[in-house]
Symmetry: C2
Subunit: 382 residues, 2 copies
C-alpha cells in the first residue's frame, strides 16, 4: 500500500510547489517540476505506477488542448503552423547537427543529436498558456498546430536516419509514411462517425449526462491506435479532443475531464518529469550539453519565429510562438534512448538530451510568461 | 502503451455492463462484475496498473461513503452497529467453522475458513445502496458502522489464530490491539486538527476552491497510515471521509471526487473484481464450497438481522441490514491468501473463499434491490 503514500506525497508536493510558484508569479508547472527534482533526491522514485499515471496525465492534457482548439482557427492557421514547424525543424537541425559534427566528426550521431533537438513537446507550453489565458489566441493555435506537424516531421526523419544507419533492420520509409497517413484517415473516419452518431442520438438519449466516460474511452483508444501506427499517443489524444470539440458537449467534457486531470493526473505528470531527472547523468560533458542547449533554444526560437513572421505574425507574436516551441520532453528522450540502445550515440550525447529537456522545461514557462506580459487573458468559456 | 487500450476496454465494458444491468433493472455493479468475468476469459488480464487503479477506486468509494455518513446518525446507531457486527461475526463463524471442522477435523484450518466468511466488504452494498438512494437511511448507516466494526473484530481474531497457530512468528496480540487503538487516536487527532484549521483559515483563504486536492491527499495518507497500523486501508479512507463530512465542504468534495471516481476508478474497481476471478480454481471441491457459501450467507443474514432486531429495527429493516452485510471481498481473499501461504489451509479451502467472494458479490445487489423494493429514494444533497 506504499503507492498510496507515494501518490499522496506527489500531490502534496505538486500543490505546495504550485502555491509557491504562484506567490513568486511563476507558472505552477515550474514549481511542480522543481518539487519533483527535490523529491527525486532520495525521497521518491519514479515507480511504474507514477509513470503510468503521468502518461494518462499528459494524454488528458493533450485531449483538453484538442477540445479547446477551434478547428476553424486551426484551418485558418494551417499555413502558419506548417511554416512554423518546417522552419523550426530546419534551423535547429542545421545548427545543432553542424556543431555536433564539428566536434565529433561523425555524421550519424550528429544527425541523431539534431533530431533530439527538434521534437517540440508542447504540454508545458499548453499548461502555461492555459494559466495565462492565451491558449486560444492565434499564437496558441499556431504553436499547437506546429508542434503536431513537427512531431510528424521528426518521426519521418528519425525513421530515415535509423533506416540508413542500419540497413536491413530499419523499417521501410514508405511503410512508415503509409502508417502516418492511415492514422489521419482513421482519425477523420472515427471523428466523422462520432460526430454524426452523436448528432443523431441526441434527440432520443440524454447524451450530455453520459458523454464524459465515452469521451475518455475514445481518447484512450485513439491514443493507443496512434501509438501503434508510429504516431505519438499524445497526438492521438489531441485529435480525439479536436473531434469532440466539434460537438455541442465540448465545454461539459472539457470541464469534467479538466477536473479529473487537474486533481490527480496532471500534477503527477509534472512532478514526475522532475522525478525522472537523474542529476548524475548531467555531470558528464556539461560543456558539450550547454553548447547544444544554447543552439537548440536559439535555433528553435529563430526558426519558428521566422516561420511565424513569414506568415504574417507581428514581431512580438513571432517571438511568443518561437518561445512556445522551445520545450522538448518525451519524444527527445525516446529518440535519445533509441540512439543509445542502437549504439548510434554515446553517453555524452545522451546526457545532452537530458540537459536539453530539463533546461527547456524549466525556462519555457518563465520565458513565455515574460513574452506575454501585459496581454489580457482570453477566458475559456466553461 | 497497451495500458491505454486496457483502460479503454475496461471503461467501455463497465459502461456497457452498466447500461445492460440498468435495462434489466439490476444495479450497474452486477453488470460490471459480469463484464469483468467475461473480459477475464482471455481478453484482458488483471495487470498491476489495473490492480492499483482498482485500489484507488475502492479507497475513493469508501472515502465518499465516509463523506456521506452523518456522524450524529452513526453515533445514534453505535449500539445497533455493534450488535449487528458482533452477532454477524458469532453466527457465521460458528456455522462455517463448525461445518468445516466436521469435514476436516482440523481446528486451525476450520477457524481460518470461518474467519474468511466473516469479513464484510461493504463496497458493493455501498454502491448498490447509493444507486437505490438508501445509503443515508438508518439501515445504510447501520451496515456501514457494523462493517467497520466487524473488520476490526476480524483482524483481531485473525491475529489471535495466526499467533496461536505459529508461536514465535505470529505478532503479539497486545501490540496488534495497541496498533488499532493508535489508529483511532491518530484519526481523531488528525480529524480534530483538520476541522479546526479549516475553520480558522476559511476567513482568509478561499478554501472551497482549493479543498479537493487536499481532501484527496488526506484520504490517501490516512489510508496508508491505517494499512501500516494493521487496519485495512479502506477503513482509513472511510474515516478520512467522516472527518471531511464534518466540514462545510462535504458536498463540494463529495461531488468532485465522485465525478473523478465514477468516470475512472470505480468502474475499473468493479470490472477488476470480475477480472480477478479464476474460473478454474472454482472447479476444485465445488460441493464443499457451496456448503460453506450457503452457511456463510445464512449465518450472516441471520446473525446481523438478529443484532439489528435486538436493537430496535423492524423485521423488514433487519433483513435489509443482514443482506447488506453479505458481501465479502478483499479482506476474505487476503485472509485466504495468508492462510494458504502459511500452510494453515489447503487449495480446497482457498477455492471456497473465491466462490464465497464471487457468489456474495454477484447476488447481493439483486437481493438488496429486492429487499428495498417499493421504498422511496432518499436523495443525497449535491
Amino acid at each position: 500500500m506504499t503507492f498510496l503514500l507515494h501518490i499522496g506525497i506527489l500531490l502534496l508536493g505538486a500543490n505546495i510547489g504550485g502555491i509557491i510558484s504562484k506567490k513568486l508569479k511563476q507558472p505552477a508547472v515550474l514549481g511542480q517540476i522543481l518539487v519533483g527534482m527535490l523529491l527525486g533526491m532520495g525521497i521518491l522514485e519514479k515507480t511504474e505506477l507514477i509513470h503510468y499515471l503521468s502518461e494518462i496525465g499528459v494524454i488528458f492534457l493533450m485531449f483538453i488542448a484538442g477540445l479547446e482548439t477551434d478547428v476553424n482557427e486551426l484551418r485558418a492557421s494551417g499555413k502558419s503552423s506548417s511554416a512554423i514547424a518546417i522552419a523550426g525543424v530546419i534551423v535547429p537541425l542545421a545548427l545543432v547537427s553542424g556543431a555536433a559534427f564539428m566536434i565529433s566528426g561523425d555524421w550519424v550521431s550528429s544527425v541523431i543529436v539534431g533530431l533530439i533537438s527538434i521534437a517540440t513537446s508542447v504540454s508545458i507550453s499548453v499548461q502555461t498558456l492555459k494559466e495565462l489565458g492565451q491558449l486560444r489566441t492565434k499564437q496558441g493555435v499556431g504553436i499547437l498546430g506546429a508542434a503536431i506537424i513537427d512531431d510528424v516531421i521528426g518521426i519521418i526523419l528519425l525513421t530515415i536516419v535509423v533506416g540508413m544507419a542500419r540497413p536491413g533492420t530499419g523499417s521501410n520509409i514508405f511503410i512508415v509514411i503509409l502508417k502516418i497517413l492511415s492514422f489521419f484517415v482513421i482519425t477523420i473516419i472515427i471523428g466523422y462517425i462520432l460526430v454524426q452518431v452523436l448528432a443523431r442520438i441526441s434527440d432520443r438519449v440524454n447524451v450530455r449526462r453520459k458523454i464524459v466516460p465515452y469521451a475518455i474511452i475514445s481518447c484512450l483508444i485513439l491514443a493507443f491506435i496512434s501509438e501503434e501506427l508510429g504516431v505519438a499517443a499524445v497526438t492521438g489524444a489531441y485529435f480525439a479532443g479536436v473531434i469532440f470539440s466539434m460537438t455541442p458537449y465540448r465545454h461539459k467534457i472539457s470541464h469534467d475531464i479538466g477536473l479529473i486531470s487537474d486533481n490527480i493526473f496532471t500534477p503527477i505528470f509534472f512532478v514526475g518529469i522532475g522525478l525522472g531527472v537523474d542529476l548524475n547523468t548531467i555531470g558528464v560533458g556539461i560543456g558539450y550539453s550547454l553548447l547544444l542547449l544554447g543552439l537548440g533554444i536559439i535555433g528553435k526560437i529563430a526558426g519558428c519565429g521566422w516561420g511565424a513572421k513569414l506568415t504574417g505574425f507581428s514581431g512580438k507574436h513571432s517571438l511568443q510562438v518561437g518561445i512556445g516551441m522551445v520545450p522538448r520532453a518525451e519524444v527527445s528522450i525516446i529518440i535519445a534512448n533509441l540512439g543509445l540502445k542502437m549504439n548510434l550515440i554515446g553517453h555524452k550525447e545522451f546526457a545532452s538530451a537530458i540537459v536539453l529537456v530539463v533546461a527547456t522545461t524549466l525556462i519555457t514557462p518563465s520565458l513565455l510568461k515574460w513574452s506575454f506580459r501585459g496581454e489580457g487573458k482570453i477566458k475559456d468559456a466553461a
